[in-house]
Amino acid sequence: MRLTETPLIETDGLAVRLGGALVLHDVGLSIDRGEIVTIVGPNGSGKSTLLRALIGALKPSRGTVHRAEGLRIGYVPQRLHIDPTLPLTVTRFLSLPRRHPTSDVRTALDRAGLPDLRTRQMTDLSGGQFQRVLLARALLEKPDLLILDEATQGLDQPGSAAFYARIAEVRGELGCAVLMVSHELHVVMSASDRVICLNGHVCCEGRPEVVAQADEYRALFGSGTQGALALYRHDHNHAHDPAPEAVE
C-alpha cells in the first residue's frame, strides 16, 4: 500500500551545474509506479546528469528532487569500470550492496538468460553478459524504480532488442517503474509509455506517437525518425528475419 498514490520520484525546478556550466535547468518531471519512461535527447543534453541527480550522486544547484519514502532504486550505469586489482566474481558482484541467498542469485542469472557464471570473474565477461549481470544485480534489490543509462551500449541490434524485451518483462514481473535513457530512438520509443525529450530542459513529453510528431522533437532529431519508428514496428514481427530493410 506504500508508494501507490504519490509519484515515486519527482523533481521541481531542478537545475544542475557541472564545473560551472549549467547543464540542466527548470526540469520538472515525475515518475509513477509501474510506468516505462524514456528520456531522449541529443549528446550533451544532460540525460546522464539528470539520472545522476535523481539517484542523489549530484546535488541540485537549484530546485528539488523528491523521492518517495523508502524508495528502492535499481541503477544500471552506462558503463562500469572494474579495477583489475579488485578480484570480483559474478556472485560477489550480485551481492553488493546487500547479500542475497544463493538460490536468489542463481534465479537472477537464470532470469537474465545467462548460464551459471557465478564463479566467473566480472572482468572475464563479454559485453553482453556484463550488461545483463548489471541488470540482474539491480533487479535483485527488488527495486520500485529501475534506472537505466544507455544500458545497451556495445550490444548489437538483436542484443539490445532482447535487452528491451527483458525490461518490459521485468516491469510485468516486479511491477516496478522504469526510467531509461537511450540513443536508440526507434527501439525505445515503441517500448515506452511516455517519452521525455530533454535538451537542458524538458522540451516536450507525452506518449511516443505524440512526441514523435511534436515540433520540438523534430527540431532536435529531424523528421526522419518518424520513418525509423514505423520501420521498427514493422521489423518487430520479424525479429530474426535478415530481409533487407531498404526494400520496405
Binding site: 539517484i55 550522486a57 562500469l80 586489482t85 579488485l86 550492496p97 564463479t119
Partner: protein
C-alpha cells in the same frame, strides 16, 4: 612472563600491524590510493616533531597529524584537483617539514632513524597495547562498513543509488589509515608504512578470487613477512623494519611470477 622477551614483543607488534594494515591496504590498492597512503604516513613525522616538542605521546601526535593530512587530501580530491601532482607535493613537503622540525629539537637527532625506519625491537608492553588496540579498531571499522565500502569502491554512483554516501565511506578509510600509520611508526617507521599497506595486498591479488579472500590472504602474507623479516634481521643483523618489507617484496615477486607461469602453462595446454 612471556611478554618480557623483547623478541616476543616485537613479533606481536609486527603481527598487530600486519593484520590491520593488509585489509586496509587492499582498499588502498583497489581505490588507487597508494600515494595517499604515502602522504598520510609522511605527515606523521611532522606529528612526531610536534609531539616531542610538547612532550605529548608520539602516538597521539602522529595520529592527529596523519588525520589532518588524510582529511585535507580527501577534501581536495573531492574538489577535482590534479591529485597525482598534489599528493606528490603534499607527501614530500610533509616529510621535509617534519625532518626540519625534528632537527630543531635537541637530543632527538640520534632517534630520528627510529621514526623513519621503526624500532620494533624497542617495543614496550604499553606500545603493544596501543598497537593491538589500534588494530582492533581498524578491523572493527572495516568489518562494520565492509559491504558499503566495497560498493563505494566499485562505483560511487552504485553506492548513491543504494542510499550509501560514498563520502562517508571515504571518511571511514581516512580514519582507519591515520590509525594504522600512527600504530605502525614504531614497527616499520614512516618511510615504509605505505609498503606494509600495499605490498601484501598486491602479493595477494594473484591468489584471490573475491575481495574477502584477497584481504585475508594479504593479512596472512603480511604476518609471514613480519615474522620472517624479524627472524632474518636477527640472523643477519639487518635493520628490522626494512627486513620485513623485503620479505613482503619477495613474496610479491613469488606470487606474481607463479601466476604468470601458471597462466602460460594453462595457455599452452589449451592451445
Amino acid at each position: 612472563m612471556m611478554l618480557d622477551d623483547f623478541m616476543i614483543r616485537a613479533a606481536l607488534a609486527g603481527l598487530g600491524v600486519a593484520v590491520a594494515a593488509a585489509p586496509l591496504g587492499s582498499f588502498v590498492v583497489w581505490r588507487r590510493m597508494a600515494y595517499f597512503g604515502d602522504a598520510t604516513a609522511h605527515a606523521a613525522i611532522l606529528g612526531v616533531a610536534v609531539a616531542l616538542s610538547f612532550s605529548m605521546s608520539i602516538f597521539a601526535g602522529a595520529l592527529v597529524m596523519s588525520l589532518i593530512m588524510a582529511t585535507t587530501v580527501s577534501t581536495l580530491a573531492g574538489r577535482g584537483f590534479a591529485m597525482d601532482t598534489l599528493l606528490g607535493v603534499l607527501a614530500h613537503s610533509a616529510l621535509a617539514f617534519g625532518l626540519v622540525a625534528v632537527s630543531f629539537l635537541s637530543g632527538v637527532r640520534i632517534d630520528l632513524m627510529a621514526y623513519l625506519f621503526g624500532d620494533i625491537l624497542a617495543v614496550a608492553k604499553g606500545d603493544l597495547a596501543v598497537i593491538w588496540g589500534g588494530a582492533a579498531l581498524v578491523l572493527g571499522l572495516l568489518a562494520w562498513r565492509w559491504q558499503a565500502l566495497l560498493t563505494a569502491t566499485l562505483s560511487p554512483d552504485l553506492a548513491y543509488a543504494a542510499g550509501i554516501d560514498p563520502r562517508r565511506e571515504q571518511l571511514v578509510l581516512t580514519l582507519a589509515l591515520a590509525v594504522v600509520v600512527a600504530v605502525a611508526i614504531k614497527v616499520v617507521g614512516v618511510l615504509l608504512i605505505a609498503a606494509m599497506l600495499i605490498i601484501p595486498a598486491a602479493a595477494a591479488r594473484p591468489l584471490a578470487a573475491t575481495p574477502e579472500r584477497m584481504a585475508v590472504i594479504a593479512a596472512a602474507i603480511a604476518s609471514v613477512s613480519a615474522l620472517g623479516g624479524l627472524r632474518a634481521s636477527f640472523e643477519f643483523d639487518t635493520p628490522t623494519g626494512p627486513s620485513i618489507v623485503c620479505a613482503a617484496a619477495l613474496i610479491f615477486a613469488a606470487t606474481t611470477t607463479a601466476r604468470g607461469l601458471w597462466r602460460k602453462r594453462r595457455g599452452a595446454r589449451a592451445a
